[in-house]
Amino acid sequence: MAAPVLAVSQLQKRYGSQDALAGVDLEVEAGQLVGLLGPNGAGKSTLTKIACGLVRPSAGRVEILGRPAGSVEARAALGYLAELFRFPGWLTAAELLRFHQRLVGSEGGQAERQHLLDLVELGDAAGKRIEAMSKGMQQRLGIAQALVGSPRLLLLDEPTSALDPVGRRIVRELLEEMRRRGVSVLLNSHLLSEVELICDHVAIIARGRLVKAGTPQELAGPTAVVVETGSGVKTFEGAVRDDAPAIVAELVAGGERVYGVEVRHSSLEDVYLEAVGGETG
């Protein structure tokens, strides 16, 4: 069995007496898109930075394709966009990508640069200076920069924080395209709806610990159909949307008058709020 693209094992990070991470386990398989959720200060960015080799762990292991995080081989396999980043404003978009091509030893040349800029819908901005770009454009350029050299693993820390709805859609489609190409993605985000829409797997971190993990469907939990009848509200636990017509028909056949029907399920937001206990950073 192939090693996971990203394997995090009993990861700990202490800053003084403060535990930023207190024993986190996480795996990202090839082609998997994993959403990392948690309140501010939960340890999401710290985990990502340890995977990139930017921060040294206090204990535990992080491996990328079986190589220790921070090693040359591990760094060659990843693309990273930090939550807080800045590129030299005097460079143009194409020059920035060329600089990163040289750093990773990519021989994609002009074709790769144009392809990446097209992917983030900056194809017309190749010659534009970064300092003249909006924050949203810079964030999309940051994603293109992370994709230079066709990395096997993408680590994206709040990649849509500065984007408008159109920009978010572009990034969502881009991530789906990456999944189709077999690229693994670890996505830190506060946008639960976005994570719910595109991620195969979700991990929720709070106070440096992994408190919940699974597919969005697994996490969403049981559903119910609630019917308002003449004799009161009746709840059918476990029933799904497709069960609603039959439930209503049965009630009507039994002589009940039906005034309203509601299909309920716990959203990722409900699960998240329950998992983090309403904590915010």
């Binding site: 930075k49 990139c52 080799g53 930017l54 921060v55 040294r56 040359v72 760094r75 060659a76 990843l78 990273y80 966009l81 930090a82 807080l84 980043f85 800045r86 590129f87 030299p88 005097w90 600089f99 990163h100 040289r102 750093l103 990773v104 030893g105 940051g142 920069q145």
Partner: protein, 290 residues
Amino acid sequence: MNGTALRSAATVVALSIQEGIRRRVFLAVLVLTLAFLALYGLGAHFAFRDVDEFAAGEPKILDPHAFTGATIFGLAMFATLFLGAVLAVFLTLGVVRGDAESGLLQPIVVRPIGRTTMLLARFAGAALLSAAYVVAVYLASWAITEATGHWSPDHLLGPALGLALGVAIIAALSLLASTVLSVTAQGIVVFMVFGAGLTAGLLAQIGHAINSDSLHTIGRVASWALPFEGLYAAGLHGLISGTSGLTGVVLQLGPFGGSEAAGPELIGWAFLYLIGVLALAAFVFSRRDL
């Protein structure tokens, strides 16, 4: 360092140079340097003319022409070291902590280039540019001195190489400071160290002049603790090392005179010091969370 690391290092050096050109840093440095050289040329012209007129017909117990040449060229050498130090510090300003705090560093160091190569590349860029700069300004000052007063130092190339090594050491110290200090603190600390080194050198000169062993020892210790000062002082000595008689003695005692030559010990120590400072900077950088 393998081929990939060398290519990455060259890429980072090229980016630094490109930034200097795009941001018109080099243009500003060139304009100000030309202004300095013009001012120096004017000063040298009038200094030689007035001294030659003043000393004409007087009995010569001191060679006024050599005295003037060595003094103004020593002043030019001091200005060259100062300008080179400014350039070295500004080319290394915020390289680690400053760039990490602004988010510029992280996208680069997560690439296979790694931290040590990145740091050495930034040093190489700053040191090579600063060293080339001081050698160029030094030689231009010499050409002006020769043209205006027909005076040349006793040793031309040695002091220039000493200045080049001196600014490389300042660039390394500045890089080390950048691994732990914020941009403002880095600039302040490196310039204070630079000033302290030069002050210690002057103390050594005074100690030599008044025959004070204590002051002379302080100056010597400072020269070894901050070898850019020792190299500069040795460079000043090289300008007049062949000047004999009262002129040589008086020049050695002056503010732009050097009492000690750069022996192989000082040069060897300066290289060891440079390597040690860079190794320490790389070690601190490698342990730093970004």
